[in-house]
Subunit: 149 residues, 2 copies
DNA sequence: CTTGAAAAAGGAAGTTC
DNA sequence: GAACTTCCTTTTTCAAG
């Protein structure tokens, strides 16, 4: 279980993953070699799973985002799953309970491209598509309080 | 518009945002001061919008993820939007076209917590909740080819 | 955008608690 | 086992071209 210092490091990195070890040391009250060791262990334990950047998709011409619920026809579930994985415009996909099997997010350059991608699914699944108009909550972490067990 | 070198830098940072300027210089064929200046400008232009980490929510006791479609009752849309924003367990929320007004992602520690959070919405909205069983596509970027205009 | 020097940060080793 | 200090190497930053 991560402790309070781990939590401080993770919250700080969530806001700026390029912070130097020295800066993280200052925030946490440790020395920088200790911070390096903490991060190594958090990665090893699978708690910190990656360091990444947020990019504005519009800068690369992706003017539309859509959320697509996908309900594969009988026997098509695995095929649909692989199909979605193979189309890079699907930027996120979850397998869920309920009538829909998958909820996926799609970034496309145009309505025409959206239509083309959904068309290819139509043989093997029913889809229900919603265009994203705004994103009132951008991706964030839930409260990372330490759980005592 | 970002050029080919910007694209190389962004794709590299997407995979590892802690790469040193020197490493980025090697990948892009520039010197490290030039890379630093490029990144500064990409941030300034709103193309690179943040450096962050991926964290396993389970490490902090968030054992369940759900996707909730929310359909506010008449006149309740703004109130619901603010309500969702104010609950930190909602880790993502999009405003979409179609019957549902919002599609939100929720990280919770237990079924009881999920129920409690959804209960608070029930006065002012209809909700439709799906539990996430797996995530066949983890958050990724669409293809970042350069668009010629 | 590059080079080159000064300043800062990172990494390895050995020590202490 | 975890963290600290020291010393040395690498990286970043800044000035100048």
């Amino acid at each position: 279980m991560p402790d309070e210092i781990d939590r401080i490091l993770i919250v700080a990195l969530m806001e700026d993953s390029r912070l130097s070890l020295k800066a993280l040391a200052g925030l946490s009250g440790l020395s920088s070699p200790s911070v390096a060791e903490r991060l190594r262990r958090l990665e090893e334990r699978g708690i910190l799973t990656g360091y990444t950047v947020n990019v504005d998709p519009k800068a690369f011409g992706y003017m539309l985002q859509a959320i697509v619920r996908v309900r594969p026809l009988p026997g098509q579930m695995r095929a649909i799953e692989r199909h979605i994985q193979s189309i890079p415009e699907f930027t996120e996909c979850d397998k869920v309970t309920g009538e829909d099997c998958f909820v996926a997010r799609l970034s496309v350059r145009s309505m025409e491209q959206l239509d083309a991608i959904l068309d290819k699914l139509s043989d093997r699944a029913e889809t229900n598509t919603s265009i994203v108009k705004a994103s009132p909550v951008k991706r964030r972490l839930p409260p990372l309080s330490i759980v005592r067990s």
